[in-house]
Each structure stands twice: as structure tokens, then as C-alpha cells.
């Protein structure tokens, strides 16, 4: 129990100290991107890793958060704080409505339905030009202010996003080690047994879906206020799949998977953007997807539970073999 909290505090300390030690706007901007993705993946890890429900459409909520806050704050002059909350409420509502029929589906069908949902929302961003600006994009999203303090430079924004990430990680961690978290994990473990102990599976799937949508929405909103310009392509099906890659890379055996997966993804894509053009001079566009594709396939075939689980396996090998009691070994069975 205490070990769990200690890790969180150490992590928070590291986050706090980083900009004081490393003075690089480039690194800060990378860490900010990792922050956005960590926030999305935090919710998504709860949904996919703990409750075992796949989503191929979370870019939609990221986008809804971004466009709602952009529209309300830039077009209607709302305070960004309020518009971010409005985005989260709308995302939660949509997740709830869409979730009801969607989570009656399983496996392949669930994957297809969430993918379809993502494409529909993406198309709406593209086509409802009067609100979103269509493919030309949405300009002039204001930055966030706290009283006179404006989150306009990277260092300030860094603290803002990572505060939110930390709070959400804490929230998730609390969920996991509670009645609700066990209910979620039980769904992945065995739906028949969840039923048998009186867990309303549908209710928990919906709750965690709404939670993950809120996380994605807030991340998208913050992203919009950070970059001040958004266009639909930032929220297409590819992004949903990138989220999936991050969640799978990080793994779901701990909430840190979200941060680790996002970090690996962002750092790897930055690295590839630096290195690949040196080797292949004609590489352009989103060539780095080759590597992510390979990463995804290799992870799923050889490390299906993600990096955190692989790490636990390596470090935990001796521990489990010594603590397994003789009674457990000699219990018989088939």
C-alpha cells in the first residue's frame, strides 16, 4: 500500500524538478505531448487493460474536447476552464449514449463499432465547417489563464498538464484498489463470475467508458489551448490507433503503463523523425508507422501484457518462486 504511494510521490517530485534542472524548450514540449497522451492513455488503460474492453475510437473524445473548448472559448468568449469542463460533460454524455448499445457487443464487433464511431465523429469535424472550420482548421484558440497567470509558455503549460495527469493517475490508482476497480477487473477476468457475485457488468463498462472519455476530452481540450490551432486530421482514426499502441506498449498491469507507453511512443517517433531521413533520404509523411506497426506486432506476439508486465516478470521471478508456499505446490489437482 505505502510502496504504491511512494512511487507516485517520487514521480511527482521528478516532474516538479525536471524543468529546474533541464533547460530545454524542445524537451519540455516533448514532455507536454507525453502529458496529453498519458492523460488519454490513463483512461484508456482503465477501459482496455482493467475492464478488458477495446476501443478504436478514442481520438473522437480527444477531438470533441478540443473542438468544444475551441468553439466556446474562441467563438463565444467563455473562460477556458469552463469550456474545458463543458467539453468533458459533452464527451461524457456522448460516451454514455453511445456506450449503451456499443457495450452489448464483444470482441470483433466492439472493435468495429468503436472504429465506426471514431470515423463518424472525425467526419463531423471535417464537415461541420461553420463550427470547426473544416479542413482549414480552427485558429486563435486562447491560452489558459489562472487569474493573471497565463499558461502561455512551455514551462508553465508543462506544470499545468502534468498536474492534471498526476491527479488523474491518482484517481485511477484509487479506483483500481477499490470495490469499483475489482469490479472492472473482474469483467476482464470472467464475466460469468462477475455476474455470479452480483456485479452489474454493463453499468461498470459504461462508467469506465465515460471516465476514459472524460480523460481523453480534457487532454484534447488542453492540447487545443496549448497549440492554439487544431484541424480534423489531428483526430483521425490513426490517432485512435496510436493511443492503442501506447496502451499496449505500456501495458495494463500498473497505471504507470499509461505514462510509459506514451513516453515510448512520443520519444520513439521523435527519434525516428531524426534518424530515418538520414538513412532513407526519400522518406516523407508518416513513414514512422512502419516502426510502430512492427512494435505493435512484436509486442502482441511476444509481450502481450506490455512493458510494465514484462518488467515485473523479470524483476519478480525470484520473488514468486520463493514465496509460493509448499501447501500451494502440493495441493494436487489435475
Amino acid at each position: 500500500m505505502h510502496e504504491r504511494r511512494l512511487g507516485t510521490w517520487l514521480f511527482a517530485l521528478g516532474i516538479l524538478l525536471f524543468p529546474l534542472i533541464v533547460h530545454s524548450n524542445y524537451l519540455l514540449s516533448i514532455l507536454i505531448m507525453i502529458g496529453f497522451y498519458s492523460l488519454v492513455c490513463n483512461g484508456l488503460t482503465m477501459l482496455m487493460g482493467y475492464a478488458g474492453q477495446i476501443s478504436l475510437g478514442h481520438a473522437a473524445f480527444y477531438g470533441i474536447g478540443a473542438y468544444t473548448t475551441a468553439y466556446l472559448s474562441a467563438t463565444h468568449g467563455w473562460s477556458p476552464w469552463l469550456s474545458i469542463i463543458a467539453g468533458a460533460v459533452i464527451s461524457a454524455f456522448i460516451a454514455f449514449i453511445v456506450g449503451i448499445p456499443t457495450f452489448k457487443l464483444k470482441g470483433h464487433y466492439l472493435a468495429l463499432a468503436t472504429l465506426g464511431f471514431g470515423v463518424i465523429v472525425y467526419t463531423c469535424f471535417k464537415e461541420f465547417t461553420s463550427i470547426t472550420g473544416g479542413m482549414n482548421g480552427f485558429f486563435g484558440i486562447p491560452s489558459i489563464k489562472l487569474f493573471a497567470w497565463e499558461f502561455s509558455n512551455d514551462a508553465r503549460f508543462y506544470y499545468l498538464i502534468w498536474t492534471v495527469v498526476l491527479l488523474s493517475l491518482l484517481f485511477s490508482q484509487n479506483i483500481i484498489h477499490s470495490r469499483v476497480g475489482r469490479a472492472l477487473r473482474s469483467i476482464e477476468g470472467s464475466e460469468a463470475a462477475s455476474d455470479a457475485v452480483g456485479i452489474d457488468i454493463m453499468r461498470y463498462k459504461l462508467q469506465v467508458f465515460v471516465y476514459s472519455a472524460i480523460c481523453a476530452s480534457i487532454a484534447g481540450s488542453l492540447y487545443a489551448h496549448y497549440v492554439t490551432f487544431i484541424n480534423p486530421q489531428a483526430f483521425d482514426a490513426m490517432l485512435s490507433i496510436y493511443f492503442l499502441i501506447m496502451v499496449i506498449t505500456g501495458g495494463a498491469s500498473s497505471i504507470w503503463g499509461a505514462v510509459i507507453g506514451s513516453s515510448v511512443f512520443v520519444l520513439l517517433s521523435e527519434l525516428l523523425k531524426e534518424v530515418v531521413p538520414l538513412v532513407f533520404s526519400n522518406a516523407g509523411g508518416e513513414f514512422e508507422i512502419v516502426f510502430f506497426g512492427v512494435l505493435l506486432v512484436v509486442m502482441l506476439i511476444y509481450m502481450p501484457n506490455g512493458l510494465t508486465a514484462a518488467w515485473k516478470k523479470i524483476t519478480g521471478k525470484w520473488r514468486t518462486s520463493t514465496t509460493l508456499s509448499p501447501a500451494a505446490k502440493g495441493g494436487g489437482g489435475r
Binding site: 484509487n174 477499490s178 463470475a193 457475485v197 452480483g198 457488468i201 495441493g331 489437482g333 489435475r334
Partner: protein, 261 residues
Amino acid sequence: MKRNGQVLLTVEHITKQFGGVVAVNDVSFDVNKGEILAVIGPNGAGKTTLFNIVTGILAPSSGTVRFNGTDITGKKPYQIAQLGMTRTFQNLEVFTNMSVIENVMTGAHRNMKTSFLQAGLRVPSVKKEEKAVEEKAMRCLEKVGIAHLAYERAETLPYGNQRLLEIARAIAAEPALILLDEPMAGLNDEESRWLVEVILQLRKEGLTFVFVEHDMETVMAISDHIVVLDNGVKIGEGTPEEIYRNKAVVAAYLGEEETVC
């Protein structure tokens, strides 16, 4: 009926058809509080179908199931469980992604109150509830004799202990009735004996059991009351002695599966 006691579960004229096949045909019986009732019958007799109807996995074509005075016919499995009826599985449905004690704590779900928001914010009541449920889970594990394995990963447990874990999980819900689906399947003699002991002890503490079982030795040894199905029809019921004397049962059941006894 000469059994006395308070009726806990009533199965009334249950019929279930799959297409043209009648899997269960007009079966009725009562389960009294504090009783161990066995449902037996040759393969294909309709035991599993009946079991699935009582637990809400299947809806009957006709008839009603009443539990603790409530009509539970057509209710969903989790709703029935929330009313205080839990079960174990023949093919083990342990939550392999949790530790042993977490499995049992999950079993206590229905008597806990923490909501999503409360859990996330970890309000003081959550801490208290977590502590209480962990202690309760530990007591349940002690009752089935695997408390020393509480913090192992559930999937590392051998088969027999996983069966015990399922029972611990079922009793953590503080149910009025536990349904056991072939609890002896896959257990060796020593494990079977221990399981019988556990069940008898739990009955002493006021629990009621209904179980479907192939192992006649266990059935005869621990049941207070036996219901015999054949081809979806109830062909007899009574105490173990009465079942032994029941010609129809001996002919239909023992005749077909002589090797069992």
C-alpha cells in the same frame, strides 16, 4: 412434504424448450433454509439447464422460480446474485488477473457501497470499507483453509485450491443460498473429503446449498434432500435413503450409469 423448515427457493413447474427439444419438463421442488439439496441425474437429464434457469442465465419457457419470497424468473444473473444467491462453476471461473484475496473481496461486492467517484477520490468511508472487506475476505479464506495463499496470484493456485477459492468468493457475498456446479469434479479423494467438510461446516453456520453432482458417494453422504431428473423430468425426490429405495430412480439412473456407484 414431510420436510419441515422455511422454504428459501421454490422451483415451480419449470419447463425449458430449445426449438423442439424439451430440456426441462415441468420440474418443481423446494429448497429449505439450512438444507443441502442435490440435483442428480444421468448426462443430458437437464441438470445444467435447470441450474442455468435458477441462476438467471437462461429464461424458462414457462414456470416460475421464487427466491426468499421474490419472483426471480427472468431476472438477470447479477440481479439474482444481488438478492443473495451465489454460485461456483464446474469449469472454474476464478479471476486470474487478481490475487487470491482480491478474488474474495470481489465476492463481497454486493454488500459494499463505494461508488466510482467515491473510489476515485478515496473518501474516508472507502478506506474503512476496504479494511473491513479485506478482513472479511481473510475470514472467508480461513473457512475454506487457504488463508495462507491470500496474496498469491489466483492463477498460480492448483485446481483444487481454485475450487476452494470459488467457494470463499461465493460466501464473501454473505449469500442465503450457494449453488455448486459439480463441486467434486476434478478433485482427488483428499480434496473431496476436505471440500465436504467445508460445506458441512458452512451449513452449520446457516448457509443453504444446492448442488449438481455426478459423484454419488458425495451426494449420498452430505445431502439432506435429493431431486432426481431424467430426460428433463423429475422422476423422484427425497432423502438419500428414499432415493435408494425408489425403483424408478434406480432403474433410470443407476441402470444407465452403473459404474458411478
